[in-house]
């Protein structure tokens, strides 16, 4: 079909051996300037480029890295992936994207596919905590994968999987949020959204617990609701909250999408943001600052996170020994969706 032109063709046409052409191509060894010129001419003429598959086969290095992520549609991931791609390219690697849609089944299929494709390493943006049954096989699968190629977890982890981790300091971010709310005199705080069992939610929720306890704030379990990571989920959960007797004065969301959903629903019920309720997001996606009234959120340093993840992976690929865990600091960005509690007004429904 695709009758490719090979190094032999070039060799023939320029009256040298394939070896010589190869030497010209790689530049590792010296060839007589004259022959080199001749060969280059022919290469130019046929627009020849060496088959990187054959090369990879020989070198046992594909110069490809796989990225498994939940959903490229989420700005957090698209942002991150873009930075990763750039960094990878800089280091001579191309990237393979795999949307798992948060389904562990897909994750393990992709793991296998990537292995088949001989990727040199895998960036895993996901990870789940053992809240779900039948997780063992995924753990086994992951561990098996890690025997074959290096894997770096990004903003996630997996119980019983001992992988390198590069992550945003989501805990610190959450502390900052609770500190802010505390300073804003909020005492009744909810935590909304996120798929149960996904590590990103778990990590934030743990930090939420910690931070609340640290401030001696009471945690109302009714206000801790799981769902998904999208706008619809935010809307849904906000409604659930509104049906309750008692309502929080501040809502911490697992991410900005959920926050958007919450804000919309509250507004539909004529609850003013931030006057009646403060809403906090996470990730500081592109839209956070544009969505009225501006979403108070935690900025992740996508550039650093993505770059560090790729660097770590590449170091592992090259047999180096990078830090086992690397944490990127976050920054709270206060915007219009949060505010000091007004005592003269209380909300109920």
């Amino acid at each position: 079909m695709k009758k490719s032109i090979t190094i032999y063709d070039i060799a023939n046409e320029s009256n040298v051996s394939p070896s010589t052409v190869s030497r010209v191509l790689t530049g590792n060894e010296r060839v007589k300037p004259e022959t080199k010129r001749k060969v280059l001419e022919v290469i130019e003429k046929y627009n020849f480029r060496p088959n990187s598959l054959a090369r990879s086969l020989l070198y046992k290095q594909s110069k490809m890295i796989g990225i498994i992520l939940p959903d490229i549609n989420h700005p957090f991931f698209s942002m991150l992936v873009q930075k990763m791609e750039a960094k990878a390219l800089e280091l001579g690697y191309t990237t393979f994207l795999c949307n798992s849609m948060n389904d562990p089944e897909n994750e393990s299929t992709y793991l296998q596919t990537l292995l088949d494709k001989q990727v040199d390493g895998i960036l895993f943006l996901g990870g789940r905590i053992n809240e779900v049954d039948s997780n063992e096989i995924y753990v086994a699968e992951m561990n098996n994968t890690m025997e074959q190629v290096p894997v770096v977890f990004v903003n996630g982890r997996m119980d019983n999987v001992n992988a390198h981790i590069v992550k945003t300091d989501e805990s610190a971010g959450m502390y900052e949020i609770i500190d802010l709310l505390w300073n804003f005199k909020h005492r009744k705080i909810a935590f909304l959204g996120g798929l149960k069992g996904v590590s990103s939610r778990k990590i934030k929720l743990e930090a939420f617990h910690d931070a609340m306890t640290r401030h001696s704030l009471e945690i109302n379990d009714d206000w801790i609701l799981d769902g998904d990571f999208d706008i619809e989920s935010g809307e849904e959960l906000a409604k659930q909250l509104l049906y309750m007797k008692d309502c929080p004065t501040a809502i911490v969301c697992v991410n900005d999408f959920v926050a958007i959903g919450v804000i919309r629903t509250l507004q539909q019920f004529d609850i003013r943001i931030p006057d009646d309720i403060s809403v906090i997001g996470f990730d500081d996606i592109y839209l956070a600052k544009y969505f009225p009234p501006g979403i108070t959120s935690v900025t992740q340093n996508y550039n650093q996170l993505g770059a560090k993840a790729v660097e770590t992976l590449v170091e592992l690929i090259n047999g180096k020994r990078p830090e086992k865990e690397w944490t990127i600091p976050t920054k709270l960005v206060v915007r219009g969706s949060s505010k000091m509690v007004q005592n003269d007004k209380s909300v109920d429904n």
Copy 2:
């Protein structure tokens, strides 16, 4: 480094020849059930999976397709890419993503990289029109690429490049917009945003011209402004518009991001949307319906578009002869950002 286990190891361990193992693997030929069982056992034991690089080399088919797109961060593309990935997977292909950031330089680099990686075909989401100089080399590059592997343009085209095209009926979408605005009694209409020279803008703008002319509406060239495809550009261009003596009553934006930017800026200047000015977007991204007051936009059928693009490419790869051009219908979705003109109030600034 990565001491991979090969078909030879399996052959040894199960006391058969590599050929037999291969036969078991591919299932193309029959082997004695007993030997088959034995071999499968060993394969299982070592968790062996054949090296797809070696296979690709042999078959001259990598089962990979490359996707070159401007920017995965834009919801339109992430949406589309996700559908494409799914469809590709369904057809047995994996996808390579390449963010060109709308830079033709990057585009051609990626074209080469993909060729090197021996992709079986390329989906090109971009394309530019010859408004820019020095475009010839990119055209040449593209034509050269197309000699080696099939290329399908998605929602774009390139002058002097005779490729298969799968696209949304952006023209029809634009006609619908202008029809709507006409029915809403708008007579002063602007067109904002988009990088000059990028075909997507060009196509919409041409349709804009057509539709306006068709309704005998006067086109004010001052109101046709180019910029970029993001929110900031929308804000910027809206400001430019406001500085003008005369202001339109409706603004058609090249996409939803630009529309969001425009809406925000107008609101900052106390111009009410849609009461004072109607704003229309394009693409109907996930956020369009959530961003207050809800953005009137043109829905692209991402699923169809993505699937058809992949199908077309795969047909080309398999030597079939798919339609040279395939158009997916659009649908106008009217939301809060557009409204009938109120005669009792006119805007100026």
